[in-house]
């Protein structure tokens, strides 16, 4: 039985090196982007870069691209259920108490506003310390 009849794909060394290089560049990119203040966008951008890195590892390093398709199905279903787990939990925790809330603003946002009004001096001090902490 030679390699061909054995049916195992040998991932070329050059491709492995290219993927490794891309992963390093994406790591540098995610650090660089996190230094830039994008407001609400910082979190989605960091997660998007991490997802791209994960896809590179799964398709090439874990060789799913050349693997039996049933394994890709197992992984896809796993990812689907992780997102259901995450999103359905947030339906609860992010909107807790809002079922009986007659205000337009969700309760969690109201609480955040209240605590910001109660301790404006503290919040200001904490925010100004962040860049000074040398991170």
């Amino acid at each position: 039985m030679d390699h061909a009849s054995h049916g195992h794909h040998i991932t070329p060394k050059s491709l492995l090196i290219k993927v490794f290089g891309s992963l390093i560049l994406l790591t540098i990119l995610t650090v660089a982007v996190s230094r830039v203040h994008l407001g609400a966008l910082n979190v989605p951008v960091a997660i998007a870069i991490a997802v791209v890195k994960m896809m590179l590892v799964v398709t090439v390093f874990m060789a799913v691209k050349w693997d039996n398709k049933v394994n890709a199905l197992v992984i896809g279903l796993s990812a689907l259920f992780v997102s259901i787990f995450l999103i359905f939990t947030l339906f609860d925790t992010a909107y807790r108490g809002d079922l009986s809330n007659v205000d337009r603003v969700p309760i969690s946002d109201q609480q955040r506003q209240q605590s910001a009004e109660m301790a404006p001096a503290d919040a200001g001090a904490a925010a100004s310390e962040m860049p000074a902490s040398g991170h």
Partner: protein
């Protein structure tokens, strides 16, 4: 033989799915607390040293590459190269754990413990004594701790696989244990790919 290989590989993937389930519970906890206290999580990522976290990311990515290279080598029956790449993987994993040890002990020395014993002091950590900081550090210690245990387990398995390769147990016709170990190691790498930005950067 091919059928056995396919079956064992799928079994490994299903095991990895259970690992994803284990970690997704912690990622959900992270997300819930982050949505509840975004300003705390924003501030506290600055309490962790992104240079140490970044170094560990590069080291783990390097180890993933060398594991992939070890499988590439055994598929060509190059046992010497396979053992060499597995040993480099072990060195990278050890470097990761050394950095993790430095991070943990520095935090403990400054009173940064998970849970009720949280009492940060010192120039760097004192400003981070804000509401919900204990929750952030509990999540940090549990997630990186369980990930660290996975690195240690991976090191044990890789050492065993390297010894078996050196003894000549594997060649291009039979290398299933190396391939399955590689899959596990890549998963550990993927978990860290997410932990690094979520905890250290944002």
């Amino acid at each position: 033989m091919d059928q056995q290989f396919d079956a064992s590989k799928m079994g490994m993937w299903i095991f990895l799915v259970t690992e994803v389930l284990l970690f997704s519970g912690m990622f959900v906890a992270y997300t819930v607390y982050r949505v509840w206290h975004p300003e705390t999580f924003d501030l506290l990522s600055g309490a962790l040293d992104w240079r140490l976290g970044g170094f560990n990311t590069l080291v783990l990515l390097g180890s993933s590459f060398t594991v992939a290279m070890s499988i590439h080598s055994i598929q060509k029956s190059d046992k010497k190269a396979t053992v060499m790449y597995l040993v480099i993987t072990l060195i990278c994993a050890a470097a990761f754990m050394v950095v993790k040890y430095i991070e943990y002990t520095t935090k403990f020395e400054h009173g940064v413990f998970p849970g009720a014993h949280f009492a940060p002091h010192g120039e760097h950590y004192a400003p981070f004594d804000v509401p919900y900081a204990p929750q952030f550090f509990s999540i940090y210690f549990v997630m990186t701790g369980i990930h660290g245990v996975h690195v240690l387990v991976g090191m044990g398995v890789i050492a065993w696989i390297a010894i078996r390769t050196a003894k000549g147990h594997f060649d291009s016709q039979y290398y299933t244990p190396i391939e399955l170990t590689g899959l596990y190691w890549h998963l550990v790498d993927i978990i860290w790919i997410f932990l690094f930005p979520l905890l250290y950067l944002i």
